[in-house]
């Protein structure tokens, strides 16, 4: 007998999602408001990580929920509503960045992160700050300097605690590619951390 997949959505979640979607489609007063309140944080988070502009984030999140409202009849209930809404949000954000001709991922294995490290070291006095908080501030700045895709993948995996399979369905990127992005981003963050320790030691 195989082990149950701990990352698979449980029936209770899918049932709750189905009840909510049915209520929205039936036009039940307050149902869509509940849906927006439940997932606006997730949508905002993805959009903010992708576009890094407060006004655009607001506008694009509104557009996302408008599209969710128009397309909700296509939700088939096979996976959590959270992942489905995240997919629409990611798609809206990606199109926005493409229209602005902003690259969403780095082009080489390490080039973008070296640039990120340079940007980060500009703002820090490496000789004087040694605490863990300062390490975190350094890492936060390095994460901010990442390209939108890497930033969003790290956020979805570490903060939203989404399984890689679910991130793959949200972003339409192969699981192996997502793992590779996560791996390289985290390794480069470690290099930045080590460079700092090397200077402060």
């Amino acid at each position: 007998m195989g082990m149950p997949d701990p990352t698979a959505p449980d029936d209770a979640t899918l049932h709750a999602d189905h009840v909510l979607v049915t209520a929205v489609l039936a036009g039940t007063p307050g149902a869509f408001e509940q849906l927006v309140r439940s997932y606006q944080g997730l949508c905002w988070h993805i959009m903010d990580r992708m576009v890094r502009h407060p006004d655009d984030t607001r506008e694009l999140c509104q557009e996302t929920f408008l599209r969710v409202h128009q397309s909700l009849h296509q939700y088939r209930g096979e996976r959590p509503l959270k992942a489905w809404i995240a997919q629409v949000a990611y798609s809206v954000a990606r199109r926005h960045l493409e229209r602005r001709r902003i690259p969403i991922a780095d082009n080489g294995p390490d080039g973008q992160m070296h640039a990120a490290a340079e940007q980060v070291s500009d703002g820090f006095d490496l000789e004087t700050h040694t605490s863990t908080q300062e390490d975190h501030a350094l890492l936060h700045a390095a994460i901010e300097a990442l390209p939108p895709l890497q930033r969003t993948l790290l956020t979805l995996y570490h903060l939203e605690e989404m399984p890689i399979a679910e991130i793959a369905s949200v972003t339409a990127i192969a699981e192996g590619t997502i793992k590779s992005h996560l791996f390289r981003s985290r390794r480069q963050l470690r290099q930045i951390l080590h460079a700092r320790i090397g200077v402060t030691a």
């Binding site: 606006q40 999140c61 509104q62 929920f65 408008l66 599209r67 809206v92 890492l139 996560l182 390794r187």
Partner: protein
Amino acid sequence: MNRDRISPVDAVEWAAQEQGRRHAGDAADARTSAVSADYRQIAMALRSLPRSAPPPDFTAAVLRQVAVHEAGVEKRLVPVLIAVLVVVTAAMVLLFGRYWWQLVQLHVGHDGIRWAVALAACMLASRLCRRWLRRPAPTMADALYRHA
């Protein structure tokens, strides 16, 4: 390293990254390897990223937008605005078109006009080709997007 694959050598480091992620909320453990300890610190930093939140009026704004869309105000307004634009443009061309054309002929000449038209056609063709070549592979989300 292949861009989309983690090599067997890197798999050890991947395991350390994952161990660090799993133990991000735990107290430091002296038995943990130095690499895992680094990745635990990185995972802690990732978890403590500042999270922005939607403003308090966001839900109300979305509901207003949905109500407007459902009422079909935009759908009715857009054709009216386009019609007004067409009428105004036509009136301007009728009133001033001949004068503008004389000015262009005077300053640019017939050859100049031909070259300008050719240049505009080249730019348009180039732009259309670029857009067609840069189009992303369609995904399910794109299908939703198109439907909406």
